[in-house]
Symmetry: C2
Subunit: 208 residues, 2 copies
DNA sequence: GATGAGTCTGGACAATCGTCAAGATCGATG
DNA sequence: CATCGATCTTGACGATTGTCCAGACTCATC
């Protein structure tokens, strides 16, 4: 009654491996169809297993989706670390950051619309909140590493809180994603230009 | 075959009135349950009609939802006009704007999470895109009336494009909504403070 | 009061959903 | 080869979905 799953035996390697395989298929399906139209059968169809196996590895639909969210996080958390580590000037960091934003928006648009979908679903479904808020915090931390490093390279303290910096940048990113997915050819590059304009405003006493 | 609905007869008053009644019930239900879990039967249950009547006034689910989106727009478009018209100083406008944001976030949280839900759904569902992009543009215009009036009262030109201003403010608003709905007691007031900080950065050569 | 167009009800349909369980298959151990 | 737990397939269940329809109701008009 208490606990998530007690069936895992000694060779838990394969058990976790299968869970990750299913999470991979689930993420692909969710990114394609969205939360509302994704069924467990469709997820299984996009894997090499039958639909019954899903309930062998996950108690119910929510456990699978929440596992997916956490699994997805592991990929994102370090995505921008090289930008922070390799930059030595504020302009260089800003260019690298914007380029990385453009790249990730172009290459992983389905995954990002899924993230926004799940985050919005958490406004309605309590069960998703814990996992979603955890990722949201992780993303905020990631953005803050960029902004604080940028401020450091500028030799000035940041002018915003971590949450505020994440909020405004995430707004621009989501706007660009919507534009990109709805046919606006210049949405991605426009976002890059706006990030270039906005970033200097995030350190105190903005200078040219 | 072509056209949306040709059944409406002479007394089209009642016809439109019923459609609006159903849209009202649909918006209430969607705001409560979200797009994914809202069924036509549940919408009818929240109205004074039976579930069959929905298909008498709307061809299918999408026509109802799209009608709801446009119906919803009519309420929002003028919400901040008084803020623009009644303000005579930048500080006064900023205070009134932030207060209105706080008020609308507190009083109509379900309606706003529905908006973000539908906007995200439009990333997956083509049928929703036209209506969603239309509202998004309307909201951008609304925000721009605020920002440009603020800049005018400051005696300086705006430092951002309309889309950029909308993107960053919408990001902060969505962040506050998520926090508000997930139990962060100070999310709303924190947003108001951040809007106060951000707004001066939206006009050229930020001054204290 | 009879007529008929407009409106509404309630039941039915096929499709799909999450969930579950009985049995087949696999693979290591004896 | 026989055994047994782990893994997987397959079919089924009850519930819910969007959609449709036959018939009942409403009400102005003749």
């Amino acid at each position: 009654m208490a606990g998530t799953k007690e069936a895992r035996r000694a060779p838990s390697d394969k058990y976790d491996e299968r869970r990750n395989q299913l999470a991979e298929s689930a993420l692909q399906t969710l990114g394609e169809l969205g939360y509302a139209r994704t069924s467990l059968r469709e997820i299984a169809n996009n894997s090499e297993f039958s639909h019954g196996v899903v309930h062998y590895y996950f108690a119910d639909k929510f456990e699978l989706i929440i596992y997916c969210v956490r699994y997805y996080k592991a990929r994102c958390v370090t995505r921008y670390d090289s930008v922070v580590d390799d930059s030595t000037t504020p302009e260089g960091l800003l260019d690298a950051f914007a380029a990385k934003l453009v790249e990730t928006l172009r290459d992983e648009a389905p995954m990002h619309r899924l993230w926004y979908d799940l985050r919005t679903q958490s406004m309605f479904e309590e069960k998703l909140r814990e996992a979603v808020l955890m990722i949201d915090q992780t993303l905020e931390d990631m953005i803050w590493r960029i902004v604080s490093k940028y401020a450091e390279l500028c030799g000035r303290p940041p002018a915003m809180t971590p949450a505020a910096a994440y909020g405004v940048l995430d707004g621009l990113f989501q706007q660009a994603l919507l534009g990109h997915l709805t046919g606006a050819a210049d949405a991605v590059d426009t976002m890059a230009a706006r990030v270039h304009e906005l970033m200097p405003l995030m350190v105190t006493s903005a200078a040219a």
